[in-house]
């Protein structure tokens, strides 16, 4: 079974559900329509009764780039309430194990999304980081706590403060990413793991997932409220609009 809606592609084979983020035109940035489509896909996959594992991947050079300029300007101006944290929540709440195959860059909300998966694979050549503070406002989408699932708190905090987008290869030997591989090998590794997982009974997978993800889900819920409060403070300050423009001019 395969159904294509344009920006997000969902397919199922032998209990392995694949969600492909493939907004080539928008470069997998979290635009309004893309968030809507991805959220619908995640929720629909979450309701599938016969799934046993979910693989999430993006474009080969960009997994997900966080909010796009249009969305960010509206959020900072208070015109829209950001809905992208619902993506994090939908992935965290998936009843079966999830694998993020992050072949391409994952920045800001895009990295947060990938880190909501139970198993994460990154590419040596791609870059990963949180650019929120480069634009003058505090991190969102749960990233203040999610990074600590794969990085030591010290390294996670350094990336959050500095806004540095670090190469996957630079995390080798100093992170909890499940695998750091040449870009070309990321997706096949994800399916290799998925096939092992999909061999297990759904009921057992569901029970184990609920237990193993409990801390992460709780931490996410706690930090969401804090991140929203910090946004209320930091969005109103200084030269944020110009910083956002500069960041997206790159």
């Amino acid at each position: 079974m395969s159904e294509s809606q344009g920006r997000v592609d969902v397919s199922v084979a032998s209990g392995i559900v694949t969600i492909g983020m493939c907004d080539v035109y928008g470069r997998n940035a979290l635009s309004g329509p893309f968030v809507e489509e991805l959220l619908a896909a995640l929720l629909a996959v979450g309701r599938m009764a016969d799934s046993r594992v979910v693989v999430l991947f993006g474009l080969s050079d960009v997994f997900c780039a966080g909010a796009n300029l249009d969305v960010l300007e509206k959020v900072v101006a208070g015109e829209v309430v950001p809905g992208d944290h619902l993506l994090s929540k939908a992935l965290l709440d998936m009843p079966v194990p999830t694998i993020a195959a992050m072949e391409g860059h994952a920045i800001g909300g895009g990295l947060a999304l990938g880190l909501c998966a139970d198993i994460s694979i990154i590419a040596r050549e791609s870059r990963y980081g949180c650019s929120f503070m480069n634009m003058g406002f505090t991190p969102g989408m749960g990233s203040t706590r999610l990074l600590e699932n794969v990085l030591s708190p010290a390294i996670a905090h350094e990336l959050l403060y500095s806004g540095e987008r670090r190469r996957g290869a630079d995390f080798e030997g100093r992170s909890g990413f499940n695998h750091i591989l040449p870009r070309a090998d990321v997706r096949s590794k994800a399916y290799e793991i998925a096939e092992r997982v999909a061999d297990k009974p759904r009921v057992a997978l569901e029970a184990l997932k609920r237990v193993l993800s409990a801390d992460k889900r709780r931490a996410f819920e706690e930090t969401r409220a804090t991140e929203t409060l910090m946004h209320a403070v930091s969005f109103g300050e200084g030269d944020i609009r110009q910083r956002i423009k500069d960041n997206y001019g790159q």
Binding site: H105, I107, S126, R127, R165, R167, G249
Partner: protein
């Protein structure tokens, strides 16, 4: 500050971003892309070089640069302008 010094700052940051690239093999007439740098690699190399030289170049101007030598020329020009504006070495 000489053109060579600025170039070596850029190359230092470029080799940090690319596996198996050594400073002596870099041809400044080439683009960083020719060495496999992706868009975010270039952003990091340029911003690290600007930080080290303590200069800021507007994004619009950066967008017109086509090779490493061109980047060095712009960074040196902005560095010189900054020195002229602060002759006592301030800033």
């Amino acid at each position: 500050m000489t053109h060579e010094q600025v170039t070596s700052v850029i190359i230092k940051h470029l080799v940090r971003s690319i596996d198996e690239l050594t400073p002596e093999t870099v041809d400044v007439k080439k683009s960083m892309k020719d060495y496999g740098a992706n868009s975010l690699d270039i952003v990091e190399v340029v911003s690290a070089s600007m930080r080290e030289l303590k200069v800021k170049v507007p994004r619009a101007e950066l967008a017109t640069i086509t090779n490493i030598d061109g980047l060095a020329t712009v960074l040196l020009r902005v560095w010189n302008e900054k020195q002229a504006a602060a002759p006592n070495g301030a800033g």
